[in-house]
């Protein structure tokens, strides 16, 4: 019995991993419009403040607390040559791992966590954003759509980074 469950969960996790890796590639390649198409109409993207990694947007100051409209505005801004922190573009390299499916709702929506290391290189320096993702993914054919995406950073402060000018 455990073997059956294990096979199912391994297959599911593989599909989730494929999706997250493909998403990471879109971001590393600056294909932001394609990335934006991965979100549901009511999606949210959050990054809590480094001193409150458990922070919620209705009670705490976050670093990023985007509705779908704001994710779209963020992408539009980053596509501009006048988003000076990111033009010229930085080079980024995302390592996504330790992917775990934490739960499957009756609707089929998945709760997923993964660890990340996002290296950003620009203007003579490389620094790394380290932390974990929390996702809620909605099945969409063979792939998924993102209903919720949260990046919790391990850093005590953005001492090396200064900004979160890229998508984490």
């Amino acid at each position: 019995m455990t073997g059956v469950i294990s096979t199912q969960s391994t297959e599911l996790r593989s599909r989730v991993e494929d999706f997250l890796y493909a998403e990471a590639a879109l971001l590393d390649e600056w294909r932001l419009d394609d990335w934006l198409a991965l979100f549901t109409p009511n999606a949210r993207y959050e990054v809590p403040s480094t001193d409150r990694p458990e922070g919620r947007p209705d009670t705490a100051l976050m670093l990023i607390s985007d509705t779908r409209a704001m994710i779209g505005a963020r992408v539009k801004r980053l596509n501009s040559r006048k988003a000076y922190r990111e033009f010229p573009w930085s080079r980024t390299r995302r390592i996504v791992g330790n992917v775990r499916v934490l739960g499957v709702a009756e609707s089929g929506e998945l709760e997923v966590t993964a660890n990340f290391a996002v290296y950003r290189t620009r203007n003579g320096r490389t620094h790394c954003y380290a932390g974990r993702y929390l996702y809620r993914l909605v099945p969409d054919g063979d792939a998924f759509l993102i209903a919720f995406r949260r990046a919790e950073l391990d850093h005590e402060s953005l001492d090396e980074h200064g900004t979160i000018s890229i998508i984490l």
Binding site: D58, L61, L63, L158
Partner: protein, 440 residues
Amino acid sequence: MAYRDTIVCDDRSRGIFRVHRSAMTSERILADERSHIFNKCWLYVGHASEVAKPGDYLRRWVGGKPVIFLRDSGGTVRVHYNTCTHRGATLCREASGNTRVFQCFYHAWTFDTTGKLMITPGAEAYTAGFDKADYALRGPARVAEYRGLYFLNHDPDAMDLRTYLAGATEYLDLILDQGGDEGMRIVDGAHLYSVRTNWKLMVENSIDGYHAPTVHATYVDFVKDSGGGTNPAALGTGQGFDLGNGHATMESVAAWAKPTYWEPFYGDAARPEVEAKRARLIDRYGAERGERIAGNFRNLLIFPNLIINDVAAITVRRIEPVAPDRVSIEAWALAPVEEANGSAALQRRLDSFLTFLGPGGFASPDDVEALESCQQGFAAQPGVEWSDISRGMGRVPLPNDELQIRTFWRAWASQMDGAGFPEQVVDVETPQVSQPAARS
């Protein structure tokens, strides 16, 4: 050396104001700043609401020194240096919390929240000449409060805080009066980041209206896209002011949404509530003052390193030098207590805050880029030695002129020379070449 005339050249006869770029790159000048500015001026520590209950504490670095900011068991807000009086170990090792005592992990000397030394393990090993009263926690020479904002001063001879704040209290009141009967609080969560630039460039940038249309072009586009920036009266309004003692401000009609001024970004459903907030301010403070509080933007510098900007939301920003080319920033959201956790009003305020402000905002990252690029440019010394801050010397200064920044530098140079604060600028600095004021 004299800082006035050699590092800061204030030529009012010609209307030229220049700052020598070594002020941003010299280790020796940073050492002088620590002695003459950070050890002499009132420095912001934190807000009363951050240590709301007896025993609440948090750890901070203020003017290069480690401190514990706390409310003692009797309810008094205090600041202790965060070092054991025994052998020096860091006493408080958590960022924040609530406690009845501070016990040093090195040899377990234990202090109460007032700083009194309670326990020295193995007390019999000390002679009769050893008096625990001599080993109470030490604190800065002075701690004082203005309406919930706590400041410290390392100089026992410093003027009192209220005198020091001079004309800035008018602008602090315009911000703090938004709390009504219940007052203001710091919202949970801080933006903590460092920038590879000199601390004074972060001060300049925080009160600089000139860069907004260029550096923040994408933000202006975002405001337009969200149906904002609709008040035609905002353009060309306002003024920059020297508030005395190095404090400065610029104030103008709000150019986009703030929690007391509705624009479509907040959504139609929020409009009655936002307009009711404005109406309450007008009820309470009268039409002129209430409208000014609700409908204006203001960027405020409290010399030397505190910024309180009342723009898309209210941010309190503390600027702490680390090295000539490195600054550490702490920024918080200041909100009326009546905007409770979980309320739509608080959510709206924080959403508004994040559109512009902070490391992940649509505007602040480009400021960071600009400041870091300036710092890199300063490596061209001695080929290029001076920065120019002359804009608007010949007229009643607009918010996008540079009087606010000159005010900072004049106080900076005078303090560095040990000459106190300069005379407040109340008239046009260079009247012989004055042009008609462009403001309405």
